[in-house]
Structure formats: C-alpha cells, structure tokens
C-alpha cells in the first residue's frame, strides 16, 4: 500500500500501524511527535491500534521548543 508521509509517498506493508510507521521511520522519540492522519490529530493512545490504509496521508509534527530550558 502507498502512504504519504510528510508529503512524500512511499510503499509500506499492509497492516502497518501508526506505531509501526513511527519505528519504521526511525522516530527515536515518539513522545516528541504528534501524528496527524488525514488531517486529524490522533490521540497518542490510538497509535498502536490505528492501522494505515492505502492512500492515507500522515504528518509527523514535532515538538520544538528552543535551545534552552529553564
């Protein structure tokens, strides 16, 4: 199946979940990512059970702070 990830289409095995996609894409810190599926932000608890379909559009939206914490 083809899924568009961050604007670029790629082939994936059928049955891949959002959680699986995160690890396939080597997202090292999934806690720092929000996932948007077809324009809707997914709940974090749904990453595991959400199975991707052909033609889905996924966006990884990263937490970005700044250079410093205080």
């Amino acid at each position: 199946m083809k899924v568009i990830v961050n604007g670029t289409e790629a082939d994936f095995v059928d049955g891949l979940t959002v959680r699986g996609l995160l690890s396939e894409r080597n997202v090292k810190m999934p806690d720092m990512v929000s996932v948007e599926l077809n324009g809707q932000v997914l709940k974090r608890v749904d990453f595991e059970k959400t199975v991707l379909k052909d033609g889905d559009k996924v966006e990884f939206l990263y937490f970005m702070g700044g250079g410093r914490w205080d």
Partner: protein
C-alpha cells in the same frame, strides 16, 4: 493622529505599499505587540517590529545576556553580556526607532501573572524556549482572546503557526500537553543554527504586521515547518481538534496552571 514629515520619510517604503499606506502606518503606530522571550526568536521580531513603527512593544524575559546567546540573539551585542535581556533589547529597539514605546517585563511568566501582562496587547509573539511557557501562552491567549504567533526551533529546523483563539487551531489542538519528563533529548545544550531563529522570528513579525494591518492571509490552521539543511518549507494543514483539552468540545482546562518543566539531566542524556 497624522504622521509627521519625519515619519512620512521614515516609513515611506511602507506608505507606498498599496496594502499599507499612510492609514496602515498610523495603525501600526497605534498598535501594541508583546514579545515573550528576548532570545533567538524575539531578537529579529523585536528589531523588525520596532523598525516598522509598531507603536508599543512589550518585551518579557527574566534572563541576563550570556556570551553563548550572541550567535543567534542578534538584538544583544557583546558589550551587553551580563545586562538584563529586556534592557538590552529595549536599548536597541529605541535606537532603531524613537517612535516606539518599549515596555519591559523582567520576570518569568507564570499562571498567576501572565494574564495581567498580556491584557491590552493586540498581538503576542511566543519567542520562548520551553514547553511549559508555550502551553501557558497558548492558554492565556485563549482566555484573553489575544491572537498570537507560536514558534519553535531545534537544530536546523523551525516551525510556526498563527492562532486566533477560539477560531483557529491552537497549540494544544496539535500538542495536547508538554512532552513527558525524560522524552526531551537535551536541555540547555541543545544546538541550533544561529540564523534559524532569525528566519522564524522574522516570519513571526511578518504575521504580527499582517494581523495588525488586516492584510493578506494569516498562517492559521497551518503549521509551517522549515528545514534549513534541505532548504525546504512545508505548510502542513491542521484543523481544530474536537478533543482539544482547551478549545475542544469538552474542555478540561478551564483555568491557567503552570505545566511542570521536565527534569533537565544532561548526564543522563549523554
């Protein structure tokens, strides 16, 4: 109000723009923008908004200028090391444009002081560097109904989005809550290309000016991401989240509270 001859000359390249004109310039001169954070994002935003003749600019920061700030925080100069950032920033903004009234707030924003500070401003620029502050600004601007520009930078990437509270996608619609403790890759040592916040902070100033003038299309319901290494901008469409804890159908956040900052343990990260 009317512009003086000197102002007509100073702002002539604005005034000749059909979308600005003398009326728009007067609008800018009577506008109030609050910049939260006199750092990498706040530096270009402050300088450009002052140069543009935004009449009142507030600047909030609790820190002093450090040597390691200078590669990106261009409002501060080498001789300013050790000064309060707000004082250093005020001096540069006033030097660029004496038309501008600068209000300085040398303090850290908290749930119990942010509303009284942002009240009365037309637009807020989030130039902060930490997640608890970003969520606090998002929430406070929602309760006070003040439009703001969110932005963040990390390494070679940056992002921004304009929020019209209650109307367009807010920060919590996308990022429900701060990342969990321990998820953050590094703390005060996180790197950033010096020019990166310059790009993003300048875009934030652009959004502020567009909002104040009521021109163009704002960066609402869109997260603009910038990757300097790939030299790629992407406008990612986002939409209001019905499950948003702040502006969703069943809001859980009904008053301001301080989010806990994550534990900063550099040794653990190494």
């Amino acid at each position: 109000m009317g512009l003086t001859e000197e102002q007509i000359e100073r702002y002539s390249r604005h005034i000749v723009l059909r979308q600005v004109g003398g009326v728009g310039q007067e609008k800018l001169l009577s506008s109030k923008v609050l910049i939260i954070g006199a750092g990498g994002l706040g530096s270009p935003a402050g300088l450009y908004l002052a140069a543009a003749g935004v009449g009142t600019i507030g600047i909030v920061d609790a820190d002093k200028v450090e040597l390691s700030n200078l590669h990106r925080q261009i409002i501060h100069h080498t001789a300013d090391v050790g000064l309060e950032k707000v004082k250093s920033a005020e001096a540069k903004m006033r030097a660029i444009n004496p038309d501008v009234t600068v209000r300085t707030y040398h303090r850290r924003l908290k749930a119990d002081n942010i509303r009284e500070i942002i009240k009365g401003y037309d637009f807020v620029i989030d130039g902060t560097d930490n997640f608890p502050a970003k969520f606090l600004i998002n929430d406070a601007c929602y309760f006070e109904k003040i439009p703001f520009s969110h932005a963040g930078v990390l390494e070679f990437c940056g992002q921004l989005m304009t929020v019209l509270p209650g109307e367009t996608t807010c920060y919590r619609c996308i990022f429900n809550a701060p990342p969990p403790v321990g998820a953050v890759p590094s703390c005060s040592q996180a790197g950033v290309l010096g020019v990166l916040p310059g790009v993003i902070g300048s875009l934030q100033a652009t959004e502020a000016i567009k909002y104040l003038l009521g021109i163009g299309k704002l960066l609402t319901d869109t997260l603009l991401t910038y990757d300097a290494l790939e030299m790629e901008f992407r406008a990612v469409k986002v939409s209001r989240n019905p499950n948003c804890p702040l502006c969703g159908k069943e809001p859980r956040i009904t008053e301001l509270k301080d989010e806990k900052p994550p534990v900063c343990d550099l040794k653990k990260v190494e």
